[in-house]
């Protein structure tokens, strides 16, 4: 029903009720008035009639009695009675008059008049009787009394008739007003009933609305409570509270939402899942759920488990909800949640189950995340082995145990031999496979109580606790080495790998993890220097040299960043003493190690792989300087830069040189790259191709330290080089009279010339050597006798003094430069 219609209807009903009540009340009032009038008139009439009859009797009795006695003392009471009756008649007449009934007023007056005449007659009669004159009294009675009484009686009858007429009229009026009032009251009652009905209905609606509101409020309260619980649970999660505590709070939500409901949580993936926590369940059901083995890992594992838990719940008079799988963001199953309630309760599981499942999934996922992070913080991600941090902690614990039990413990540092080559040649993926296989082999060959850790790229450490003597540690090291005997099958490759091991003993070689590890590392260096594939026990004598080695290795890693490297240049002069080229020589000045010889740090750089970045820096710096000199207008000689064979191994060297030349704006023809004979011959196949590419650009190549390696002279004709640099060991012994050496140098020079190669003599330190070399036809000479290595500034000074130019780089043609790379 529309609201406006209801309002109009209610208004009409209210109006009807008011009108009905007014009409009814008015009619009832009129009926009451009429009834009252009727009653009054009837009563008055009856009273009048009875008064008259009484007076008649009194009058007659007084008359007879007065006649019967003679003593006035006896007569007077009768006289008084007669007078009293007369007075009451008068009073009744007055009451009748006061009724205000117009229909009988004339009759009242008539009756009063006739009655007064009778009263006068009676007074006369009574006076005669009192006087003792009975005869006169009788005479008056007959003459006046009786006629007056008869007239009074007649008028009384007329009055009664008038009263009856009035009574009938009042009855009719009463009836009509009664009917009207009944109609009005009926309307009032009907309207009131309708209003009451509407009010009852409205009240019911209001009550329903209130109940609904209360229900909504209760739901809102529950939602707020749930939200508070959610917030507190999420706070527990964020504060890394114990998972059990958090899950207990989550499953407790079941009973908060449904008083008699409980819940249980299993954590883990199928096959590994286990009962974690339950709340508000019978003890037996909880224990039974706990004892049940985890669901199988198959696709239907969880489904089967749900069926089982449902049957179990039924045995305890409970009903199980549909199980809710818990999954982490990646979709991985991390658990299951199920609600239980006494059978027969109509519990709406879904909303509660969803909320609980969401919270439980967050809590478990968060817990797993923390576990993973904690694991990652202490483990190597590639091999899963403990990292240095955890290893140190285990060494600490092992040393305490050893101290307590009077035992020893060994820390073994293991470094793979030539692992870098595998990594560089076969790629990092294969390198990672190697590391994983090494980790597996180490774990297999060691005792349960031993610990293996990966502490660096190809560095592993082993903790062998509870040893009786150092020989036990050596046996462990031997076992480890034997684990490397079988070849490593790496994808399509099969390779043999060895390792260098260093051993330090607790407590002899250190009492703290850091010292033990450092000494094991130093011992490992000793093993490495011994050729690898073996182990060494730490000795104090090793300490100094090895420590310097370790120091240099560590410092070299930051040398570039700290600008500790610089270049010096040693000029190369032709037979006429003219500057024909300069060789860039790398110098390292370390604050702690001082001036370090390239002979000392280049092998370290090669071993640690730093040679690539250092080589790039050298090439780039030399080219940039040469280009600057060109810009300054100097007659820039050939710039010779030493290259390690390892720089060629990653296959990117060609592109690197090309890029540097382009960026610096140096013509490739001004760059000479020197590679040692040994390095070249070791990697002939891989290097030659790249050399060819660079030579095509215009870059010149020289064989450095020629004569010290194992190359066959016959190979020389096949090497893609332009220059042969005779090793200083030949030049040192070159002097007049030294026939063998002179013959050898002459041969090299002749051979080179025949092959069209230029020859440079290194290490020229005397005038005799220079003269002889000139005689032998050596093209260029380099050595202290001619020029010591000099700084950039000194070389620039030299360039300025020897060949000043007026027009900068005017003879450089565009074709000499490597064009810039196209934007594409």
């Amino acid at each position: 029903m529309k609201l406006w219609f209801r309002r109009v209807f209610v208004g009409a009903m209210v109006l009807g009720a008011i009108l009905g009540s007014l009409l009814g009340t008015r009619g009832l009032n009129q009926a009451l008035i009429s009834t009252r009038d009727l009653y009054r008139v009837d009563t008055a009439g009856s009273q009048m009639e009875s008064d008259l009859e009484y007076e008649t009797q009194e009058s007659r009795r007084a008359f007879v009695y007065a006649l019967a006695v003679t003593d006035p003392n006896d007569q007077l009471p009768y006289v008084a009675a007669a007078r009293g009756a007369s007075r009451r008649v008068g009073e009744t007449l007055n009451r009748l008059r006061m009724l205000g009934v117009p229909e009988i007023s004339a009759d009242v007056e008539t009756f009063e008049r006739t009655w007064n005449k009778y009263d006068q007659a009676r007074d006369q009669i009574m006076a005669r009787i009192l006087e003792g004159n009975s005869a006169a009294a009788m005479r008056v009675e007959f003459e006046r009394g009786q006629p007056a009484f008869a007239r009074a009686l007649e008028s009384l009858h007329a009055l009664k008739a008038g009263l009856e007429v009035r009574g009938r009229a009042d009855s009719v009026r009463v009836n009509s007003t009664l009917w009207r009032s009944i109609g009005g009251l009926a309307a009032f009652v009907l309207s009131t009933l309708l209003i009451l009905g509407l009010l009852i209905k409205a009240n019911r609606s209001r009550r329903q609305a209130l109940e609904s509101l209360h229900a909504t409020n209760a739901a809102l309260d529950a939602a707020r409570e749930m939200e508070r619980e959610r917030a507190s649970i999420l706070e527990l999660v964020s504060t890394r509270a114990a998972l059990s505590r958090t899950l207990e709070k989550i499953v407790a939500l079941a009973s908060r939402c449904h008083l008699e409901a409980g819940a249980a949580v299993w954590t883990g993936n199928a096959g590994e899942a286990h009962f974690h926590v339950a709340a508000n369940l019978p003890q037996g059901l909880s224990e039974a759920l706990k004892l049940h083995p985890p669901p199988s890992s198959g696709p239907d594992g969880w489904e089967e488990f749900r069926g089982y838990s449902g049957k179990l719940a039924a045995a305890f008079g409970f009903e199980a909800s549909p199980a809710k799988e818990l999954r982490e963001a990646s979709g991985e199953r991390i658990g299951m949640l199920q609600m239980f309630a006494p059978a027969g309760r109509a519990v709406d599981w879904q909303a509660t189950l969803d909320q609980m499942a969401q919270l439980a999934a967050v809590a478990i996922e968060n817990s797993l995340l923390y576990e993973r992070l904690a694991f990652q913080a202490q483990h190597d991600t590639l091999t899963g082995l403990p990292n240095r941090l955890l290893f140190q902690d285990r060494v600490q614990q092992a040393s305490r145990v050893a101290l307590r039990h009077g035992k020893k413990a060994a820390v073994i540092w293991l470094d793979l031999d030539k692992y870098k080559q595998i990594n560089d040649t076969l790629g990092h993926r294969v390198g990672d496979e190697v590391l994983c296989e090494v980790a597996r082999r180490l774990q297999r060959c060691l005792r349960q109580s031993d610990s293996v850790a990966r502490v660096g790229g190809d560095e592993f450490t082993v903790l062998a606790p509870e040893l009786a003597q150092p020989e036990d540690a050596e046996r462990v090291a031997a076992t480890i080495l034997s684990a490397f005997t079988p070849p490593f099958q790496l994808a399509s490759h099969q390779t043999n790998l060895t390792a260098s091991l260093g051993i330090s003993m607790f407590p002899e070689h250190g009492e703290d993890p850091i010292t033990l590890l450092r000494n094991a590392d130093l011992a490992m260096y000793s093993a490495k220097r011994a050729g690898g594939g073996t182990f060494r026990m730490f000795r104090s004598a090793l300490s100094d040299s090895m420590q310097r080695q370790v120091l240099l290795e560590q410092e070299l890693k930051t040398a570039l960043e700290h600008n500790e490297l610089r270049l010096e240049y040693q000029p190369l002069l032709d037979r006429n003493g003219r500057l024909d080229g300069v060789e860039a020589l790398l110098r390292w000045n370390n604050p702690e190690a001082g001036q370090v010889s390239p002979m000392e740090f280049i092998p370290i750089a090669e071993e640690t792989g730093l040679i690539s970045s250092i080589g790039e820096w050298v090439t780039q710096t030399a080219c940039r300087n040469a280009a600057r000199w060109l810009q300054l207008g100097y007659d820039v000689p050939l710039i010779a830069v030493n290259v390690s064979a390892l720089q060629f191994t990653d296959g990117k060297f060609t592109a690197l040189v090309e890029r540097i030349l382009r960026e610096c704006g140096l013509p490739p023809s001004r760059l000479e790259l020197e590679i040692t004979e040994t390095a070249l011959m070791d990697n002939l196949e891989g290097v030659v191709e790249q050399i060819e590419l660079l030579r095509r650009l215009g870059v010149r190549f020289a064989i450095d330290d020629f004569g010290t390696g194992y190359s066959s002279l016959s190979h020389l004709q096949n090497l893609p080089v332009d220059i042969v640099k005779i090793d200083r060991s030949f030049i040192k012994d070159l002097q007049p009279g030294a026939v063998g050496c002179t013959t050898l140098v002459r041969g090299i020079i002749a051979l080179a010339h025949n092959l069209g190669l230029q020859v440079v003599a290194e290490g020229v330190e005397t005038a005799e050597q220079l003269a002889l070399l000139n005689t032998l036809g050596c093209d260029l000479n380099q050595g202290f006798f001619l020029h010591r290595p000099m700084s950039v500034e000194a070389l620039e000074e030299l360039l300025r003094a020897k060949r000043p130019r007026t027009e900068p780089a005017e003879d450089l043609s565009e074709s000499e430069l490597i064009p810039s790379a196209s934007p594409a």
């Binding site: 003392n73 007077l76 006289v79 006076a127 009192l130 006087e131 003792g132």
Partner: protein
């Protein structure tokens, strides 16, 4: 014996007191309100009660209302107003009747209230009652006559 004599002496004293008019008491003559007579001379009143005058001016016969013997009004009537005794008074009234004259109508009532009530009902009646009884309800509707122009309580009123 002495006791009996003392008792007889007390009864005689009481009787003497009973028949002696109270010298402090006052009396009133009352008539019907319709009676035209408002004032009487004391001798006319005496004449009415002696039976010498037996009609009112309207020629209606006078009805004398007297109290019973022994009452104060009767003693006053006998001792002070008529100066006679009850026996003498009765004989004088009988003489009137023996003479063939209209007999005197006398009504003896046993209280002032009854006397008043009688006067109220009989227009030609006249009664002598104590002035103290005028306050009774029964004496409400009657007329008190002036005696020699004086009403009871006024200076010089003679019915006392």
């Amino acid at each position: 014996m002495g006791h009996i004599l003392r008792l007889i002496a007390a009864l005689l004293a009481a009787a003497m007191l009973h028949y002696a008019a109270d010298p402090a008491a006052a009396f009133a003559a009352v008539v019907h309100p319709s009676n035209a007579t408002r004032d009487l001379h004391l001798r006319d009143l005496t004449s009415l009660f002696e039976g010498a005058n037996r009609q009112w001016p309207n020629r209606s016969g006078v009805v004398l209302v007297e109290r019973d013997a022994g009452s104060a009004p009767f003693r006053y009537l006998m001792g002070r107003l008529l100066n006679t005794t009850p026996g003498e008074y009765k004989r004088s009234l009988q003489n009137i009747e023996y003479r063939g004259e209209t007999p005197v109508s006398i009504k003896i009532l046993n209280s002032d209230a009854a006397a008043c009530q009688y006067v109220f009902n009989v227009p030609s009646a006249i009664a002598i009652v104590e002035t103290a009884s005028l306050a009774l309800p029964a004496c409400g509707g009657i007329q008190v006559l002036r005696i020699d122009g004086k009403l009871p309580g006024e200076e010089g009123y003679r019915l006392k």
